[in-house]
């Protein structure tokens, strides 16, 4: 029988409430009930995700070495081909595969239920795999040099659109399986009361995924029919609005999943508990209701829609989602501070942070993800989404600068961090070369931060995005770019080399552990740092909220964040004021 402590999260109930015989085990490390069927599909999707990450990563370094004018590696033809490959593999195939793995793992483990349907899991996996392989094949043979956005009237081979549709349907089947799992967990009373916060975060991600994938279908099915000659070309304005319902909303799935991973890793690495369950859940609800309208950022310079639509969707409604991010940005480090102070790390403002388990890749990856996403992605996102400022930044390298710190420095780094627990807990294999594992998140964080800064400031000098040659060599009149932009593109290139090294390290370490690692079946996973019993911390996470809210260090960090935000925001307004004379 599940039990609930007042005002808190429930404790998962007995292991075999709805599991078929032989399809359940108890985790030796966390004590959680694990559905072995879900486990299997978590493994398949995680492996698939890492394969596509490797493909997208190779694309990333080729692109960075092309956009770095001192190297300028690829030809124009291959630049656009690889840009298409990189975008789809990184933003769609890697991340959505990993998210489906999380959507299978979190409810089954934390609600103590079985996976809803093995058949649906197979169908979803097969469709996602076939769709992604089809898309990659069509791109590599040169029949889809249309970039990830595939704006009409650019036309790719029909199999390109079909592949994306098949992949999206597969992901939708996986999301449906997640909702089915929630349904049977409730029906079979495997838990009572509210679901744990991390599962609630996954639910928010799944809801946003439904909106995303429906927009994908509405956009790409007519585009596919056009590509095979059964329809006229879709209206470009209509296509752009509707496509960004897929393109940007899919990144909001990442945000929700990433925040859920932050809470999960906070618990696993420091024993942190949310300061206020209700407030954190409320923040996820704000995401569900308002974050998706942020897609309008991409349409801010389109002439077909009016100012009311633009301002409502990028300001008034959108700021409620920004509020949610700021809530998470406060509660996540604050919960870590509370947990660390309770252990006795009370020295000064930042004793808790200095003494945090930085040698644990689960912690370092999660905390760097939080800082990079908040300081880099959050601040630039709000500023770039301001209609007046956007006119200076639209289609410059500032935009990729923003989303490389949100999606890569934020989501990808958080997913890398959680992998250091997924492999020992789900695959039940131990990592080799543990010193390299500990270094990897640091290296990736440094590299991707350099990439983000380099792109953002190069964009501020006017370097366009999606352009093979920033200097426009051979143009009818000299264009050129400022020498400062060269410095920034060099910084981006060096950062990309560092981040790519860390990515290769990650892929190599995961492959070595998954296929050749020492099994830990029957024993606890090898701890990343010597401190606590994970079983105890997971149990405590389910018991009650943190009662002590003494978090002076986090308050100072938040103050630094707000000051940075104000400076960057008003610097951009000043810059805008300097662009034209307004009389």
């Amino acid at each position: 029988m599940a039990t609930t402590v007042p005002g808190t999260m429930p404790i998962p109930s007995r292991p075999t409430r709805n599991h078929p015989p032989g399809e359940v085990r108890t985790c030796d490390t966390t004590g959680l009930t694990v559905c072995t069927t879900a486990d299997k599909f978590v493994r398949y999707h995680a492996v698939s995700a890492v394969v596509f990450l490797a493909v997208g990563g190779v694309g990333a370094i080729l692109l960075a070495l092309t956009r770095w004018p001192a190297v300028h590696l690829l030809s124009a033809e291959w630049y656009y081909r690889v840009l298409t490959l990189h975008g789809l593999n990184m933003l769609i195939f890697w991340i959505l595969n990993f998210e489906i793995a999380l959507l299978y793992f979190l409810p089954t483990a934390l609600l103590g239920t079985r996976l809803y349907s093995k058949a649906l899991a197979w169908v979803g996996l097969a469709l996602m795999t076939v769709g992604a392989l089809l898309v990659d094949y069509v791109i590599l043979v040169g029949d889809a040099d249309v970039l990830m956005t595939s704006y009409v009237p650019l036309l790719a081979h029909p199999l390109f659109y079909l592949g994306v549709i098949v992949f999206a349907v597969g992901a939708l089947v996986g999301v449906g399986n997640f909702f089915g799992t929630l349904y049977i967990a409730k029906r079979d009373h495997t838990y009572e009361g509210s679901m744990p916060l991390v599962v609630f975060g996954a639910t928010a991600a799944a809801i946003i995924a439904v909106v995303t994938l429906l927009h994908g279908a509405v956009t790409l099915i007519p585009t596919f029919l056009w590509s095979i000659g059964l329809m006229d070309a879709p209206d470009p304005g209509w296509y752009r609005i509707t496509w960004w319902g897929l393109g940007h909303m899919s990144q909001q799935v990442n945000v929700c999943a990433m925040v859920g991973v932050w809470y999960f890793l906070g618990t696993l690495t420091t024993g942190a508990k949310p300061l206020s369950e209700s407030v954190c859940r409320g923040a996820f609800v704000l995401y569900i209701l308002f974050i998706n309208v942020a897609s309008a950022h991409h349409i801010l310079v389109d002439p077909g829609v009016g100012a009311s639509w633009k301002i409502w969707n990028t300001s008034y409604a959108m700021y409620l989602a920004v509020l949610a991010s700021m809530i998470h940005g406060f509660t996540v480090p604050a919960s870590v501070e509370v947990a660390m102070r309770k252990k006795g790390y009370n020295q000064g403002l930042f004793g808790w942070l200095i003494n945090a388990p930085w040698g644990n890749p689960g912690f370092s990856g999660f905390f760097f993800s939080l800082v990079i996403f908040g300081f880099g992605g959050g601040i630039t996102g709000v500023v770039l989404g301001t209609q007046q400022i956007n006119i200076m930044a639209h289609n410059t390298l500032r935009i990729p600068g923003h989303f490389h710190v949100t999606v890569v420095g934020g989501t990808t780094l958080a997913f890398m961090a959680v992998t250091y627990y997924v492999v020992p807990l789900v695959f039940r294999k131990e990592f080799y070369a543990r010193t390299l594992c500990k270094i990897q998140p640091w290296l990736f964080a440094i590299g991707i931060t350099m990439v983000g800064i380099g792109m953002s400031f190069a964009g501020s000098y006017g370097v366009p995005r999606r352009t093979w040659d920033a200097e426009h060599a051979g143009a009818a009149f000299p264009v050129g770019i400022d020498p400062g932009a060269h410095v920034m593109l060099g910084l981006m290139g060096i950062g990309a080399l560092i981040a790519f090294t860390a990515l290769l390290l990650y892929v190599g370490l995961v492959v070595a552990a998954v296929f050749f690692g020492r099994s830990n079946e029957g024993t606890k996973m090898q701890a990343w740092h010597i401190e606590r019993d994970l079983k105890e911390s997971v149990k405590r996470e389910f018991e009650h909220e943190a009662g002590d809210h003494h978090v002076p260090g986090t308050v100072v960090l938040v103050g630094v964040f707000l000051a940075s935000f104000v400076v960057y925001y008003f610097a951009n307004w000043k810059w805008l004021a300097d662009v034209w004379w307004v009389r």
Binding site: V210, G237, W238, I241, G282, V293, W309, N313
Partner: protein
């Protein structure tokens, strides 16, 4: 907490405990605010006059 207190659940908490209602709201709200409103704006756009 008393039994009565434990049974009294606020409407906001009820909303947060109902993933199906959240799913409906999460699909409908952005679809109206972003997508449908955007399409309406495009459909109401007058045709450009050729010079």
């Amino acid at each position: 907490m008393s039994k009565t207190g434990a049974e009294k659940v606020s409407p906001i908490q009820k909303l947060m405990d109902n993933p199906w209602l959240l799913l409906v709201l999460g699909v409908v709200l952005p679809t109206i605010s972003y997508t449908v409103w955007g399409w309406i704006e495009l459909w109401n756009l007058p045709k450009a006059l050729l010079p």
